[in-house]
Each structure stands twice: as structure tokens, then as C-alpha cells.
């Protein structure tokens, strides 16, 4: 099977350290994911799709920004695949492109309230913008 995304795929696997071949398709990552309902592509699909080189849909999906980095899929995966690391790698590949920031500074004031901790703000910038 021809894989037109071979370079990107190799890059993603290298930076994430994930080996998708270890996956046994049990779906426990997606079973445990707290953000599942807000995701168009779910953790097990990230593993599958990166393995098969079908990466563009992931790059363009808002699913990237719904991962909570709660690491539940990392800890509960019986095969040690660690899907969240792959989500993170794809997310970086998306936002590192020029002008591809998901969050712009101008958007922020509307999101704030009096109590919101700094932590949320810096985390969001880490996750949504380069």
C-alpha cells in the first residue's frame, strides 16, 4: 500500500515515541477518554490513522484541541501504546505551520472570568499556539 505521508508519519512516530503496531484494537483508550464526545476522531483512531498514513483529517480536526492531557489513555492502555503522545505529536505538527495557531491572543479576553487561574491560560497557550 502506498503511503504518501510516510515522511510525516515517521516524524510523528519519532517525536511521540509511540509504536502503533503494539495496538491490539481493544479500544480502551477511547473507552476511558473524558473528551470522547467532543472529538471527531477518537484516541484509538489516532493510533489507527497514523499507522495507516491517513493523517490529513487529523491535522485539520478540532479533536486535536480537545485532548485534556489527562493521560488516562496512557496509563490504562494494556499494550503500552500511549495514544495521548500521538495526539500531542499531531497537534504540534498542525500548529507549527505558519499562521496555524488555534488560539489567538485577541480571543482570550472573552474567555476570561475573575477566578480563572493563570494555569488555565498558560496551558491553553501551550496547547493551542506555538
Amino acid at each position: 500500500m502506498h503511503n504518501k505521508n510516510q515522511y510525516l508519519q515517521e516524524e510523528l512516530l519519532r517525536t511521540s515515541g509511540v509504536n502503533p503496531k503494539k495496538c491490539m484494537r481493544c479500544g480502551k483508550c477511547s473507552a476511558t477518554c473524558p473528551a470522547y464526545d467532543e472529538m471527531e476522531y477518537h484516541p484509538h483512531q489516532f493510533v489507527n490513522m497514523v499507522e495507516s498514513g491517513d493523517i490529513e483529517p487529523l491535522l485539520n480536526s478540532k479533536s486535536l484541541y480537545r485532548c485534556l492531557s489527562c493521560f488516562a489513555c496512557i496509563d490504562r492502555c494494556p499494550r503500552g501504546v500511549e495514544p495521548a503522545k500521538l495526539v500531542e505529536a499531531v497537534r504540534l505538527a498542525a500548529i507549527r505551520k505558519q499562521g496555524a495557531n488555534h488560539l489567538k491572543a485577541d480571543d482570550v479576553p472573552a474567555m476570561l472570568d475573575d477566578d480563572i487561574p493563570q494555569q488555565a491560560l498558560v496551558s491553553a497557550f501551550r496547547k493551542y499556539a506555538k
Binding site: 503494539k22 491490539m24 484494537r25 481493544c26 479500544g27 480502551k28 483508550c29 477511547s30 473507552a31 476511558t32 477518554c33 470522547y36 464526545d37 477518537h42 484509538h44 483512531q45 488516562a72 490504562r76 492502555c77 494494556p78 499494550r79 503500552g80 501504546v81
Partner: protein, 664 residues
């Protein structure tokens, strides 16, 4: 000096086509020790063999070199010929000039050249050969079976059937094992107790079988045919031969709050107890951790109500020493602990149970008398979620669970789901699976019936989290085929926990010097061709101690192990392989290196008196190889730092002579 005869075989044209056999026999004639050399069309034929016999007589040969096909082919033939001619069969060496010469080389010159060199190497070796006689050792005609589950029971029955006495050692107060705890058995759904308990009775009534229950093996010495075993019989504080098993004591015992291990702690028993109604031996046992009399001397009710006078608070552990010719390991399995998998809330809710607990919940003799009631509030569950592969098929770096497939879970889960739907059609049953593995006779048909006839919901996916809230268990799971996350409010969650070898297996393996894999399953002598034998001679494997197995497989392995034991015990004497290691006691410095590399535990140490040059005596520690146990790999010979250890038939001097002959 040897008197060696060389016999070069043509093998029709197989050898003679590429090797000038005449040149070979002529060249070898001049080798040291060779007094006769010839060639013939078919050395292995009757005429060829007679030629060898005649030559032995005529030339007073002491050694024979046959240049022919592979020794794997005809070494045995020519050894027999030698024996018939009156010389020691181990004075024969084969030069492989067919498979490793004429068949792989195309031209006559190189083929002949190489055949001569191979012949010279064989001659050089025979020059150093010594006559070898295989050792013999007697066989104790009694077998020991460790573990009294279905594996041990079947093995013991089969051995006893052949007329040999057998002892079963079981660490629990009764035999029966895991199978006694099961309700129904797949795929036929016959009741486990109905098919197991008659076998237990057979064991009890068989005069060839002795049962040591509440006992364990504490020491094993010796070797195949001659094991010396120490069995520790724990004090049960009841005289086994007097107790009638009437059960009066268990009724009257005031201490009734002891978690009942037979029902996996889901109900209580008394401090003096009989594990279950059909226990064998059916005698009471006092649990010293809970008995008030044993703990602080206050009570004594059981001794008062016992009409037979069987209670003995002063009973001590007893050690029994017995000799055995063969040992069968049948230590079985246990479900793994669910502590590391608390995303399924096993430690948080009584209504999250393992499959073995489910067996007890549906068993007529179980804590709920066979009614399917959930443990927390004894209500009938209407939605049940089964989770497969809990702790099985985990990656090693996931740091929890087992790497292997536990093999039995798919089928027992299908059984549980089917039985639930059969008895309680108003119950919704979900089974979350990764794969459904049903390789067995009538297995897949059984699973399909669960789905098609009984309407069990099989969902491809896994449960990620179970959250007990109120009287519900909120199950969050994935349905991979629908690409959905499911949220199910369940009343009962059943976990198909992985199975692991019993914890007693590893110390036992050390005692037996039997090898184990990284999962603590016993390894077989050969994974395909010797599946019921341990690499350690005289030790055999039966049941799940060797790997996950269901009942039919266990029973067939138990029978196979028994037949191997019978084959061993039927012999009066064991003949060993004479090509074994031996230590030169004058060179040995007792360092223990060889002992550590020996995979068979064949090497022991003894202190021996030596006469010193000044007429004093000194005691030195030296290695002694047991030729009945040694398999002749030669590992120790290389490990030995002082060069004391050597291998008969493949001695250092012989191999070096071969090297020299080849490199000359």
C-alpha cells in the same frame, strides 16, 4: 594402542559418485592405529555388517571407523554390529562423508580430499575412545502427584489404574481444586460437581491412592526413579481417621464469622469447617487463625459435641518421608489480583466481581443458593456487564497484567452470559470483547448460540471506567464498530480476570530443579513433542501449571502425564546415556561453578578423604556427577576452571584430536 578398522561405504553411487572410496580407504590405512582398511558397496547391509564382524575377529580390532552416511542415520546400527562382534559399542565412530561431503560437493578431487580429512578426524577420535557402559539405577514403583485438582485427580486415577501406588499432596483440606468451585462447564453445560465429585470419590476409594490433604511438599532430593520427598502434613486438629464428617462441630462452633474461601469470601464459615459437602477427605479442619480454643484456650465446644472424639487441640504438624519413582506437578492456577485494575472499581464496590465469584453466585451450593443476586443488596441484577481480557494480553511495559492470553475466559464468559439469559430473560447482558477466541470442539457454535439464541449483546470494545454511584455501576466503554462511547448503568460488573500459576509453583520448581518461564508456568521438555514432561527427568506436568487450559485439555494432559509415568514405573531399571560428565576428583577444587551452570541439578558436592604425600589425610570438597540425572550437554566441562570436569564420549582430548586432524 588401539587396533582400528576403517570401513568406507560407497552407498551405491551416493558416496562413490563424488568420492574416490578406494583412495579414502588407502589413505586411511596409514593413519596411526589403523590396522585394517577397506571399502564396500553398502556397509549398512547384512553383508557389510558381516564384513565388519569378520574383520574384528580376524584383525583383533578394538575400534571401528565407518566412513558413511550421517551418524544420525546409522550410528545405532554400527554400534549394534560392534556389540555383536564383541567390542564395546562406544568404540565406533562415524565419519559423515555422505550428507556432509559427497552430497554437497560436486567434484571428485575436493570430495575425496575432504572425505579423507573427515576419516582422519574420526580415526584420531577413536584412538582416544574408551569403552563406555551405560549406568543403571533402580526405579521406586510409586508416583507422587502434587496438587489435587482435576489435573492431579485424573493423573492419579490413571496411574493407579495401571496398578502403581500414587500419593496426592494437596495443600487445601480437600481435593477438588478450582473445578469444584465451578457451576456448569462449557460447552455442554453439565454441572461441574456432577462430573467431578464421582472422580473424587473414586480417588478416596482407590486402595492404590493415598491422599495427603492440608499438606505440602517441603523437600525433594534424588533423581528420576529415586526421589526422596518430605511432605509436611499441617495439623488440622482433627484426627483424620476418626472423624466421620458428620458436621456437628461445624454447626455448633460459636465462631461463625470466618470468610469462606470456598465461596471466595462472599459468605462466612465456622472456625472448624468442612470446605464443602462433597469434600474428600470428608473430615473437619480447625482454622487456627480463628479458633478461640487454639488462640486463647477458651471454648472447646467442638470437642464436646464430637461423638467420635476426633478433636485434638494438641495435634502437631507431621513430616512424612517417602520414596517415589516419578513426580507429577499439577499445581494449577488462580485468578490474578484485581488491585492494579481499580478503574473497574473492584475494590470500591461489592457488585464488581470476578468470573470465579460469579460461578459461586450462580452455584446452588453458593452463598445465594444459586439465585443470581448481587452481593451488595441481594437484589436481582437487571443489567450485567462482562469485561473480557482483564489483565490478559497486556504489554510487558504496561507494568500490570500478563502478556499471555488466559485462554479460558472467552468460553466461560459466553457460558455465564448464556446461563444468565436462560434463567433470567429479563436481564440485559453485555459482553465487551477484544477478540472472541473459540478454538475448540463445539466452542464457536456455543458462542454463536449465546449471541443468536440467547440475545447476549457482544460489543467489540473495552470498558474504560466503572463508577459506582448510588446503587448503579456507571460503565463507560467503547463500541469500536459503532465508533461510539457507551454509558451503561449496570447492576453487576463481572471481570474475566487473567489466570496465573499458583504461588506455590515457583518454590516447588526450585526444589525439583524443574525450569519455569518468566510467567512461572512450568516449561515442557519440548513444546511440541514432549509437552507433558519437564526437562528434568522423572518430573511430569499436568494441567494449568504448564499453561492456561480448560477442563478437557487438562484431563487429556493429565492422562498423557500418567502414561509417561506408567512407562517409567513399568521399568525395573533405568539405563542411562553413558556420554555423561565426570569429574576428576584429584583436580577438582570444589568451587561450585559446574553446579551453577548445570540445568539438571546433576552435580552435588561431597567431602572426601584424600591421602596426602606425607601420609596424612586431608578432607576436600569435590564435585560428583549423578550419571542418572546428567544429560550430557557438557556445559559444566567448559565452566570448570580447573579442567577437572570432562564429558565421556566427547572428551576434551578427543575433540582436540579431531581439530588437530582437520587442521593438519
Amino acid at each position: 594402542m588401539q587396533r582400528i578398522g576403517v570401513f568406507v561405504c560407497w552407498c551405491g553411487s551416493n558416496i562413490a559418485g563424488t568420492v574416490d572410496v578406494q583412495a579414502v580407504s588407502d589413505a586411511l590405512k596409514n593413519e596411526p592405529g589403523v590396522v585394517f582398511s577397506t571399502n564396500y558397496q553398502y556397509m549398512c547391509s547384512q553383508a557389510g555388517q558381516n564384513m565388519i564382524k569378520d574383520a574384528v575377529a580376524e584383525h583383533k580390532l578394538t575400534g571401528i571407523v565407518v566412513c558413511s552416511c550421517s551418524p544420525r542415520m546409522h550410528e545405532a546400527t554400527f554400534r549394534k554390529t560392534a556389540a555383536a562382534a564383541g567390542i564395546n559399542p562406544y568404540m565406533v565412530e562415524i565419519a559423515n562423508i555422505r550428507e556432509q561431503c559427497s552430497w554437497v560437493h560436486k567434484d571428485m578431487v575436493t570430495g575425496t580430499e575432504k572425505a579423507i580429512i573427515l576419516g582422519k578426524a574420526a580415526v584420531a577420535k577413536v584412538n582416544l575412545n574408551t569403552p563406555l557402559t551405560p549406568g543403571e539405577s533402580p526405579v521406586t514403583k510409586r508416583a507422587l502427584v502434587i496438587g489435587g485438582g482435576i489435573a492431579g485427580i485424573q493423573t492419579a486415577l490413571d496411574i493407579a489404574d495401571a496398578g502403581f501406588p500414587v500419593d496426592i499432596v494437596e495443600k487445601k483440606p480437600t481435593i477438588g481444586g478450582k473445578m469444584a468451585q465451578l457451576d456448569k462447564t462449557f460447552p455442554t453445560l453439565d454441572c461441574a460437581a456432577c462430573i467431578l465429585t464421582p472422580k473424587m470419590v473414586d480417588v478416596a476409594q482407590n486402595d492404590k491412592i493415598r491422599i495427603f490433604s492440608y499438606s505440602e511438599v517441603t523437600d525433594v532430593k534424588g533423581f528420576v526413579g529415586n526421589f526422596d520427598v518430605t511432605i509436611k502434613k499441617h495439623a488440622r486438629y482433627v484426627k483424620e481417621d476418626i472423624c466421620t464428617g458428620c458436621g456437628a462441630c461445624t454447626e455448633k462452633c460459636p465462631m461463625k464469622k470466618v470468610p469462606n474461601e470456598f465461596n471466595l469470601g462472599m459468605d462466612n464459615r465456622s472456625a472448624i469447617y468442612i470446605p464443602f459437602a462433597q469434600a474428600v477427605p470428608k473430615v473437619a479442619t480447625i482454622d487456627p487463625n480463628y479458633c478461640n480454643m487454639l488462640k486463647n484456650g477458651k471454648c472447646g465446644v467442638c470437642s464436646k459435641v464430637c461423638a467420635a472424639g476426633a478433636i485434638d487441640y494438641k495435634q502437631q504438624d507431621e513430616f512424612i518421608e517417602e520414596k517415589y519413582g516419578a513426580i507429577v506437578v499439577a499445581t494449577g492456577f488462580n485468578p490474578i489480583s484485581m488491585d492494579k485494575f481499580d478503574e473497574f472499581a473492584y475494590n470500591q464496590s461489592k457488585d464488581v466481581i470476578t468470573s470465579l465469584e460469579f460461578e459461586r453466585l450462580t452455584n446452588a451450593a453458593g452463598p445465594t443458593a444459586g439465585k443470581l443476586l448481587r452481593p451488595s443488596d441481594l437484589k436481582h441484577p437487571h443489567t450485567i456487564v462482562f469485561v473480557q481480557c482483564v489483565g490478559s494480553r497486556c504489554d510487558a511495559c504496561a507494568e500490570k497484567g500478563k502478556e499471555y492470553c488466559s485462554k479460558i475466559c472467552c468460553m466461560y464468559t459466553a457460558k455465564h452470559a448464556m446461563l444468565t439469559r436462560d434463567k433470567y430473560p429479563d436481564t440485559d447482558v453485555y459482553v465487551f470483547y477484544i477478540d472472541v477466541r473459540t478454538p475448540g470442539k463445539n466452542f464457536d457454535e456455543f458462542y454463536r448460540r449465546a449471541v443468536e439464541e440467547y440475545g447476549v449483546h457482544y460489543i467489540k470494545g473495552m470498558v474504560g471506567k466503572v463508577t459506582p454511584e448510588g446503587d448503579k455501576l456507571k460503565v463507560q466503554a467503547s463500541d469500536l464498530l459503532a465508533n461510539k462511547q457507551l454509558h451503561i448503568d449496570a447492576d453487576l460488573v463481572v471481570l474475566a480476570a487473567a489466570i496465573e500459576p499458583d504461588k506455590s509453583a515457583r518454590p516447588l520448581a526450585t526444589m525439583l530443579t524443574a525450569s519455569m518461564d518468566t510467567n512461572d508456568f512450568f516449561t515442557e521438555a519440548h513444546p511440541k513433542l514432549r509437552p507433558v514432561e519437564s526437562p528434568t527427568a522423572g518430573v511430569f506436568l499436568s494441567g494449568a501449571c504448564q499453561g492456561p487450559k480448560d477442563i478437557p485439555e487438562t484431563v487429556s494432559q493429565a492422562g498423557a502425564a500418567a502414561s509417561k509415568v506408567i512407562g517409567l514405573l513399568a521399568k525395573d531399571k533405568l539405563t542411562g546415556n553413558p556420554c555423561v560428565a565426570s569429574s576428576n576428583e584429584l583436580m577438582c577444587n570444589g568451587c561450585s561453578t559446574c553446579e551453577r551452570v548445570c540445568p539438571y541439578g546433576a552435580i552435588t558436592y561431597e567431602n572426601k578423604e584424600f591421602r596426602m604425600p606425607d601420609r596424612t589425610t586431608a578432607i576436600r570438597r569435590i564435585a560428583v556427577v549423578n550419571p542418572a540425572v546428567c544429560q550430557g550437554c557438557g556445559c559444566c566441562t567448559v565452566a570448570c576452571p580447573s579442567g577437572a570436569m570432562d564429558l565421556r564420549g566427547f572428551a576434551n582430548s578427543q575433540i582436540i584430536a579431531e581439530v588437530d586432524a582437520i587442521c593438519k
